[in-house]
């Protein structure tokens, strides 16, 4: 059987997250008339800017050179002031960019908008209603709190595409009921009741129990997106094979209908040239049986995967890190310092 050049990849675009940052020194930030602004281009190709508010300049992120740009846009739009329309345009352009680069779902996460649950829930309600008017893509409602997810689902008009819930796990089975009640697809993770999985076997066991729990509620297997939890290889290079082995076994056990996804960019935390590690990991994950990814399709272009040169030295170095063949990422980091990891 010949392998298709572009394997199926259902992209859950993770760009509309209040955690997302831009570097202050980067090309997207400029100073116009003494004010620091975020540059963006609208769908019609018009250049616009969004002002970085004074309140953000007192934050630690800002002092360390980062700007939470999605938070700026949502805050501006929700406040309803002079920049509200720009905030909306910003979100529209983010949705469009992800749609253009191949996103199938738009993941929305507002956990870092504020610390108070009522503010987080209000922001999620607002964002869900707003995004329904800005995109035809299905929304993925994402939070570490079931209450925020619930608020998002309650805000859905019901007229748009079927939504996704991100995520349910053994520690919060009630999220499955919520997904069922709203006829939504659901990301089910391999988190256990009492902690994170410690190897491939626990990842498979926890996910298997979640599949059973979902099917017991009458949910269809093709609505389930298993996230085996991807951990950073910088911390332990054994983490690469942990995720990949779990993906392989989950595909074997549950057949072609279930989806297997994951927060693919977690894998590269703590090491340079994350884009390269992310791409190679995604290739290996798809080969192991994954068919979806929670990822930034604008930075890691799904269409670029097919043309990735798997014989390139940089590819091999990244692959060695991910497959636990490069202790402490030593060869990879040495090559990076010599400038040999440029794609």
């Amino acid at each position: 059987m010949s392998q298709a050049a572009t394997p199926r990849l259902i992209v859950i675009g993770e760009n509309i997250h209040t955690t997302r940052v831009l570097q202050r020194k980067g090309p997207r930030i400029a100073v116009v008339d003494g004010a620091e602004v975020i540059k963006f281009t609208t769908g019609d190709g018009a250049d616009r800017t969004l002002t970085v508010p004074e309140s953000m300049k007192k934050t630690q992120d800002y002092e360390q050179g980062r700007i939470k740009h999605v938070k700026v846009a949502i805050d501006a739009a929700m406040a309803g002031g002079a920049e509200a329309a720009l905030g909306i345009e910003y979100l529209r352009s983010m949705a469009a960019a992800q749609e253009r680069t191949g996103a199938h779902f738009l993941d929305l996460n507002v956990d870092e908008i504020a610390l108070k649950p009522d503010l987080q829930m209000a922001a999620m309600r607002w964002l869900v209603r707003t995004m329904e008017g800005l995109t035809t893509l299905p929304l993925s409602i994402d939070s570490s709190s079931v209450e925020i997810i619930r608020a998002g689902f309650e805000a859905l008009s019901g007229k748009g595409a079927r939504a996704m819930l991100n995520s349910a796990s053994l520690e919060r089975l009630e999220a499955l009921d919520l997904a069922k009640a709203h006829n939504a697809a659901v990301v089910i993770t391999s988190a256990g009741e009492k902690g994170m999985p410690d190897g491939p076997q626990q990842r498979v066991d926890h996910a298997a129990r979640m599949v059973e729990a979902a099917e017991a509620r009458g949910m269809a297997r093709h609505d389930l997106y298993i996230d085996p939890l991807i951990f950073p290889v910088s911390v332990d290079t054994a983490f690469g094979p942990h995720s990949l082995d779990a993906i392989r076994e989950l595909r074997r056990r549950f057949g072609p209908d279930v989806h297997i996804t994951g927060g693919m960019s977690n894998v590269s935390f703590g090491i340079p040239n994350r884009k390269l590690i992310n791409e190679v990991f995604l290739v290996l994950a798809l080969e192991a049986g994954a068919d979806s990814a929670i990822m930034d399709p604008v930075v890691n272009r799904p269409d670029a995967l097919a043309t990735l040169d798997r014989t390139a030295p940089a590819y091999k170095l990244a692959e060695d890190v991910i497959l636990n063949r490069d202790r402490h990422c030593k060869n990879y980091l040495r090559a990076w310092r010599k400038g040999e990891l440029k794609a």
């Binding site: 870092e112 987080q120 570490s144 709190s145 988190a191 994170m196 910088s234 911390v235 990422c329 980091l333």
Partner: protein, 273 residues
């Protein structure tokens, strides 16, 4: 009481710092090159040059092994130094900890990355394996005991585990309460272990407020004055730490060690003799 003994040993093993010391006076080539290349803040150059020009050449070699993350080398050099009758505290301070200081600076300035810092921490641990039994046999306590856990509702422990690894490497004794730690579990551990420091971590904005609730529970239990509370985790900031009344915030595992040292030093300085 024991801290007094410890200070006495420390002072006795130290040669006075030469204020006129220069980089070129450092005999170990690796240490010299590392400081030259990676240490840029003037006060840190002065401190490191003073420290390494004073340190015995064996200690400089141990520090170089730490900086290079070579656990086998540090294991061997530490044994050799102790066999040659160097004090355990001299090896720890002038070799292991001095080397880790350079590692911390390189990490802060993005010259090295997480896997390399972990290799350095393992090298540190290889050395400490020889130092710890000697210190405890001679009645010198670990630097301090630290209780660590992720807060209630939070299962994410990678960052907390990195902190624990670095703390242990630096000579702290750590009681690991794991994940999803209730205020009561923290309180029970404080009472059982008599630890002067508690470290809490949270990765989620939705669990972060539980740090404040845990601190309130310490107040209610009448324990707040007995412990120093340090907090960390991706969404945590200095401002948030101040708001909820923590004693300190660390942005990563190395900052956590620096903070624990600072807190315990201040506590001992302020404690009645």
């Amino acid at each position: 009481m024991r801290t007094t003994t410890r200070t006495a040993i420390r002072t006795a093993t130290r040669t006075p710092v030469d204020p006129m010391a220069e980089l070129s006076d450092i005999k170990n080539e690796i240490v010299r090159r590392e400081i030259e290349e990676f240490v840029t803040r003037p006060e840190e150059i002065v401190r490191n040059v003073a420290l390494f020009t004073r340190a015995h050449e064996r200690m400089q070699a141990i520090a170089a092994g730490i900086i290079e993350g070579d656990d086998e080398l540090v294991d061997k050099l530490t044994r050799d130094a102790l066999d040659a009758d160097h004090e355990a505290l001299e090896v720890m301070d002038d070799g292991l900890i001095a080397g880790m200081g350079v590692v911390g600076i390189k990490f802060r300035e993005n010259f090295i990355f997480v896997p390399e810092v972990l290799a350095c921490a393992r090298a540190m641990k290889a050395g400490m394996n020889h130092i710890e039994p000697i210190l405890s046999a001679s009645g010198v306590d670990p630097i301090a005991k630290v209780i660590m856990g992720t807060v209630k509702g939070d299962l994410h422990d990678i960052g907390k585990n990195l902190c624990i690894m670095m703390l242990r490497g630096a000579g702290f004794e750590v009681v690991d309460l794991g994940v999803d730690t209730s205020p009561d579990a923290f309180i029970d551990a404080i009472e059982e272990h008599r630890a002067p420091i508690v470290g809490m971590s949270a990765l989620l904005t939705t669990t972060m407020p539980n740090m404040g609730k845990t601190i309130e529970a310490f107040v209610d239990a009448g324990l707040r004055d007995q412990v120093l509370v340090m907090v960390g985790g991706a969404p945590v900031t200095q401002e948030f730490a101040d708001d909820m009344g923590a004693d300190g915030y660390g942005k990563d595992a190395l900052a956590c060690v620096a903070l624990a040292k600072k807190l315990i030093t201040e506590k001992r300085r302020n404690a009645p003799p």
